[in-house]
Symmetry: C2
Subunit: 148 residues, 2 copies
DNA sequence: GACTGTATTCGCATCTGATGCAGATCTACA
DNA sequence: TGTAGATCTGCATCAGATGCGAATACAGTC
């Protein structure tokens, strides 16, 4: 027998495929809770790792602390806005032409490309309107140490 | 005044530049402890984040849990062996020719490329000899759940 | 060389994301 | 409808990392 059909799995599967924001487990938990009060965060983690292990889902760590989940299992790459944290899919041309020099003696199984920068919304929006916290703003925070 | 010259900073700076393994903070702490017993893990973290904020160091998160530090601040990319966890530098040709379609309305600041696969050592070595734990073996672990 | 201001170190508490565990619950099938 | 076993959930626990404040050490001044 494969997997059982449970309301929790149905909901999470649906939520995942209705979004393109590469949500974190916690974000999905918030979403799911609004439609199924009482659902456990533990179940969200469980389901996500199960789906990922089955290949129904990809998971990425863009260095912002929390793993992000991606229902798009096609070969594709990502744009990460370092201001608002949003992630967008991109099918970068030329990406699959990248080759690793033979002298490295390394067999490539997959290639991940992340373009970091600023999205259009953030470039236009006044700073005050920016809702989410930047990943890379930690640079500034830590830099404020050690001033004499 | 800039930064003070302390034995801890000297040691860590030296250790970083003597290695090409992209060590974690904890790995550096182990190394440092053998040469300077009593050095604090807190100081290792502090120094690493300070150096990174100054641009003397790069830090990456390859999704294995711990941040990896890189004294090589040139523009370069990485090979990640999903069997042993080793990370190697690579100067992928064609990488800087990658372009993001204008319609994405996204200003790219930097591009990170990670080639995942298997290194030569792992491909040749008997499985028993593999010392470190694979990052991606979690796939197998989680898959062992839900068998009826 | 001794003095002093302040940067740094260090231990400990704390935080976040994530996983281990086991009893309660529910699904799938006979 | 009954049952075996998969799933859900709450809670404990873990790992990596950071906040904080007292103790310490560096780098100039006299
Ligand atoms: Mn994606
Ligand atoms: Mn490197
Ligand atoms: Zn943005
Ligand atoms: Zn290897």
């Amino acid at each position: 027998m494969g997997l059982k059909v449970t309301p929790q799995r149905q909901l999470l599967f649906r939520l995942l495929h209705d979004t393109s924001t590469h949500p974190t487990a916690d974000a999905l938990f918030e979403l799911a809770s609004s439609q199924m009060p009482g659902i456990s965060l533990r179940t969200v983690y469980q389901t996500l790792t199960d789906l990922a292990a089955m290949g129904e889902l990809q998971s990425f760590d863009f260095g912002s602390g929390a793993t992000r989940f991606d229902p798009n299992v096609d070969a594709h790459h990502h744009l990460l806005c370092t201001t608002c944290g949003d992630v967008a899919d991109i099918y970068a041309e030329g990406a699959d032409r990248l080759r690793v020099d033979d002298q490295h003696d390394f067999v490539v199984a997959s290639t991940d490309i992340v373009f970091r920068g600023e999205c259009g919304a953030c470039r236009n929006a006044p700073a005050a309107d920016r809702s989410r916290i930047s990943t890379s703003s930690s640079t500034i925070e830590t830099a404020t140490r050690s001033q004499s």
